[in-house]
Symmetry: C2
C-alpha cells in the first residue's frame, strides 16, 4: 500500500483510547477486560483501513476483533470507521506483527486473519511474508490450542507458498477455495483491496488452517 | 473417458507379455526382475492411452514406469505406443487401483502419478476419488518410506478436495502450482487430456506430496 504521511495520526489515535489501544502490553493475558466480556478474540494482522474487521464486527457481535496494523497513518482511517459505526467489539492496535507475543499471551486469541498480505515476491524476502514459519510460530504462541488462521489473497505465488509453508509447519488444511467469489462460501466480508481487484477479474484464493494439538 | 468396446483388446495385450504384464501378483516384491534392473519404479494410476508415461520413459531412461489402467480397451492404445517406440522401461498393467496391494509390496514403488483423475464431483462419490484417504492408504502400503504422489488436474474442485485430503492424511505438501503452464516448472510431459484442455484455456493445477516417515 502506498502511504501518505499523516503526522497527526498518532495524536488522533491517542484521543480515542476506547478504540485504539495505547498500552497493549498491560493487557497481555487479560484482553477480556479491554472488551468487558469473555467473548473470543479474533485478530487481523495487517488490518489496513479496517473494512474487513468492521464488517466482521457488525456481522458477529459476540466475537471481539482487534485490528493489528503497523502504520498509524493507515490505521487512523480504520479509527474513523469505528467512531462512525460505534462498534464496541472492534479495537485497533498499531504494533509490529513481529512483536505480537509482547502483547498477547498463549490462548488470548482464537483466530488470526490474514487478508491480502504483502506477497514479498522475491525469494530473499520470503522471511517477511506473514505466512513464513517464524510468523506461524508467533501466531501459535498467542492462539488457543486448535486455533486457526484464515487467509485470503489474490496473489497466486503467495498462496502457493503459503500452502506449502502451512503444510511444512504441520498445520491442518481445513478449507481451501481457489476461486472464492465463485464458490458457495457464505458471509464473505470483502476488504477494500478485494473489492477493487475482484472487480478487475482477479481470482481470490482462501484457506483455513488449524494448529493441531498433538504437534 | 468415453469407452469404445474393443473385444480384441484382452487378446492383444496377451500377445505382448514383455510390455503388458499378465500375472502381476507373481512379481510382488520383485518387480526389478520384470525390468531386469534395480532402477526405481514409478507408477501412474489411471494411465489411459499412456502418452504421459511414454514421454516420461523416454525422458528418464533410468526410471522404470508402470501404467495402471482398469480398462483394457483403453490401455491397448498405450500398448500400441510402446510397441512403436520400443521403450524398455514402460510396462502396462490392467488392474483395479483398489487392488494394488495384491500386486505390489511395501517399497516396490518410489512414486505414484495421478493425472487428470476422474473428479467424481458428487459428495456421495468422494470415496471413488483417487485422492480419497483409502487410496492414500493403498499407495502408502506399496511406496517406499518418504515416497511421493505427483498429481495434476484441471478440475478445481478435485484439486481443492485433494489438498485437504492430503493434509488430513498427514502428507507434506512439497510443491504446488495453481497454473502449471504459466509456471517455471521444467520438463512437464503433457497427457492427451492436458494437451486438449490447456489449449482451450483451462488452468492446470499440480502438486507433489510426500509421505512422512514419522507418521
Amino acid at each position: 500500500m502506498r502511504l501518505r504521511n499523516k503526522p497527526w495520526a498518532k495524536e488522533k489515535l491517542a484521543q480515542y483510547p476506547q478504540y485504539a489501544v495505547g498500552n497493549p502490553a498491560e493487557h497481555k493475558g487479560k484482553w477480556n477486560e479491554v472488551f468487558g466480556n469473555d467473548n473470543p478474540i479474533h485478530i487481523e494482522v495487517g488490518t489496513g483501513k479496517g473494512q474487513f474487521l468492521l464488517g466482521m464486527a457488525k456481522q458477529n457481535p459476540n466475537i471481539n476483533y482487534i485490528g493489528i496494523e503497523l502504520y498509524e497513518s493507515v490505521i487512523v482511517s480504520a479509527l474513523d470507521h469505528i467512531i462512525e459505526a460505534e462498534v464496541p467489539n472492534f479495537k485497533l492496535l498499531s504494533v509490529d506483527a513481529k512483536d505480537l507475543t509482547e502483547y498477547f499471551a498463549k490462548g488470548d486469541v482464537e483466530r488470526v486473519y490474514l487478508n491480502f498480505s504483502d506477497p514479498w515476491p522475491k525469494v530473499r524476502h520470503a522471511k517477511r511474508r506473514l505466512t513464513y514459519k517464524t510468523f506461524l510460530n508467533i501466531y501459535e504462541q498467542i492462539l488457543i490450542d486448535g486455533g486457526e488462521i484464515h487467509f485470503k489473497t489474490d496473489n497466486q505465488g503467495l498462496f502457493e507458498y503459503s500452502l506449502m509453508s502451512f503444510s511444512e509447519y504441520g498445520l491442518l488444511l481445513k478449507y481451501v477455495s481457489l476461486d472464492l467469489h465463485a464458490s458457495d462460501f457464505e458471509g464473505n466480508i470483502m476488504t477494500e483491496y478485494e473489492e477493487k481487484f475482484s472487480q478487475k477479474g482477479s481470482r481470490i484464493y482462501r484457506s483455513e488452517v488449524k494448529y493441531m494439538n498433538e504437534k
